[in-house]
């Protein structure tokens, strides 16, 4: 990249959090970031979001946990994670000093659990923001209810927000009739931003064995297949709330990011694409820089919500 391209303005703000560019990585698809050091410069990214953390460690679901589907994949990882204590003592240490904002994704079975995790994390330095997963479709107790009922969504947001020193992003489930309703509910609860979408609930069956492919029977659909649904929901939500919207779902390239920004996203997260191309996030940042340079934009922010309706 020439130095002119390097100097283009890609910065965006998620509430009080300023990111040098809008490209984040999605929870559960980027490990604890360290895994990607052989492939890309972490500090080139806007932010990284780590695997969802619960109060207690979780072993996750039995295998098989993943299966490919047309232009997508189903996962039923079951929120395997080390729990908030080991996250703080072991994983945060690795994350400190990687010179990229770290967003911690959290999940719980009860409002009290969400709150407790938030409290524990409030003492920890170097956390840029908390992302609250109220939408995980994989674990029966993992939050389906929170993400589908406005009252519960407000309550969880409220509990986390009250006990956090950093911006709180609430991550919405697409498996609802009206996602704008939930978005407004979490905005009411004090969310500094919303991110969407989490995975669509899906299923795969092996007709030979006559069994569900996933041990968990159902799983979460991600990847390019869901991009049209994600784009529509981001567009709807961006028109319904005034907090920043973070677009997620099938994003693989700078062009995809531009589409989500036009639909109203301030930032984006790259998920499944990291598996296929571990350099995807960095290459996307480069592509955005080129776009801004070639189109002589003052700033990439000009694209946010700039959809032209004729």
């Amino acid at each position: 990249m020439g130095s002119e391209i390097k100097n283009v303005d890609l910065a965006v703000s998620i509430g009080p959090l300023r990111l040098k560019n809008p490209v984040m990585t999605a929870s559960g698809t980027f490990g604890y970031a360290k895994e990607f050091e052989p492939y890309l410069n972490l500090h080139k990214l806007g932010a990284v979001v780590v695997k969802g953390i619960s109060l207690e460690p979780r072993p996750g679901n039995p295998p098989p946990r993943i299966i490919e589907t047309p232009c997508g994949m189903l996962n039923a990882i079951g929120l395997e994670n080390v729990g908030v204590e080991r996250f703080i003592t072991e994983k945060m240490k690795l994350l400190t000093g990687i010179s990229v904002p770290v967003v911690v994704n959290i999940l719980g079975d009860t409002v009290a659990e969400y709150q407790e995790i938030a409290e524990r994390l409030a003492d920890v330095d170097d956390i840029a923001a908390i992302e609250v997963n109220i939408s995980c479709p994989n674990v029966k107790k993992g939050g389906v209810a929170f993400g589908t009922l406005p009252e519960l969504a407000t309550a969880v947001t409220n509990a986390v927000k009250k006990h956090s020193r950093v911006p709180v992003i609430v991550k919405l489930s697409p498996n609802v009739t009206d996602i704008s309703l939930i978005a407004r509910a979490v905005e009411d609860g004090g969310a500094d931003a919303v991110s969407l979408i989490n995975t669509l609930i899906g299923m795969a069956i092996d007709h030979k064995s006559r069994k569900p492919v996933l041990a968990n029977v159902i799983g979460g659909l991600s990847g390019p297949a869901i991009k049209p649904v994600a784009l529509r929901m981001v567009y709807q939500v961006a028109q319904s709330v005034s907090v920043p919207v973070i677009g997620i779902g099938g994003i693989e390239s700078a062009e995809d990011v531009l589409e989500f920004m036009l639909a109203g996203a301030t930032a984006v997260q790259i998920g499944t694409a990291n598996f296929v191309n571990p350099r995807a996030a960095e290459e996307t940042v480069e592509g955005l820089a080129e776009y801004v340079y070639e189109n002589k934009l003052g700033s990439l922010r000009e694209m946010i919500g700039a959809l032209v309706l004729s």
Binding site: K51, G223, F275
Partner: protein, 262 residues
């Protein structure tokens, strides 16, 4: 750890049988550092479908420059790969995972079934090169001789004598690898290295356990990323919970795994 994501040049593509293909890739970065038992993740097409890379063991390296994968066509990804042409590039991620643990002070027994034989060739070469003791015992099986023959040849070229077994008796022993293995004299200091179908690996593990012999197995699981990011590639472990085949394996000490659950 050094890993590379490389456009690798296909310098050779050979059909060893109608559905077994060997691809030789020109990729010094990977060839130089690969260890037996490690694998690569390969993008099998250019489009979004199939979406994910496919894992393949490194079956051989040569001249610090080339490495080979040896695979069976079983679905869309492998079928696309079999239709690549020499001179094209493949996107390859690797070398990944932790391979076989070799200790030259003991003796060695390689046990492979079907396409699971692939990583054992690389291991056999390594053993021949670095360990000065007796050549490893090699026991290889497949359903038919037609399937087994092309997989065996390279071992013979190394000067190793191979104990063969086929389900239909068309080559070597008529029956399973485990039967052949039972008839062989395994030294107390032997390590068995196994790769093949799950039931075969289980049988070998149980035999080794009974004889108190070390046994390393290479596990196949569904992998989305191959590099620790998705947590999809788990195998249940003896001590409870799961291990991740792509970075804690794919080669495991058979004793550490929980074999009952599958």
């Amino acid at each position: 750890m050094s890993q590379f994501q490389k456009k690798s040049y296909i310098s050779r593509l050979e059909y060893l049988s109608p559905d077994i293909v060997r691809i030789t890739l020109d990729s010094p970065e990977i060839a130089r550092i690969a260890q037996p038992g490690q694998f690569v993740m390969v993008k099998t097409g250019n489009g979004k479908d199939p979406l994910l890379r496919r894992p393949f063991s490194i079956s051989q390296v040569s001249n610090d420059r080339y490495f080979q994968i040896l695979f069976k066509v079983v679905g869309r990804g492998t079928s696309l790969l079999a239709h690549c042409r020499e001179g094209e590039n493949l996107s390859v991620l690797g070398p990944l995972g932790s391979g076989f643990q070799v200790d030259c002070t003991g003796s060695h027994c390689l046990v492979g079934g079907g396409i699971g034989i692939a990583p054992l060739l690389f291991l056999a070469k390594q053993l021949s090169r670095i360990c000065t003791g007796n050549p490893p015992l090699v026991v290889l099986g497949a359903r038919t001789g037609e399937e087994l023959e092309p997989l065996i040849n390279d071992f013979k070229e190394l000067g190793l004598s191979v104990h063969a077994a086929t389900d239909d008796g068309s080559l070597g022993h008529h029956g399973f690898v485990i039967d052949v293995l039972k008839g062989l004299q395994l030294a107390a200091d032997a390590t068995t290295y196994v790769c093949g179908p799950h039931p075969m690996m289980l049988a070998v593990h149980l035999l080794c356990k009974a004889k108190n012999i070390a046994c390393q197995v290479s596990m196949e699981t569904h992998m989305a990323c191959g590099m620790g990011a998705c947590l999809g590639c788990i195998v249940p472990v003896e001590k409870g919970g799961y291990a991740h085949a792509c970075f804690e394996g794919p080669v495991f000490d058979a004793e550490e795994l929980l074999w009952e659950v599958k």
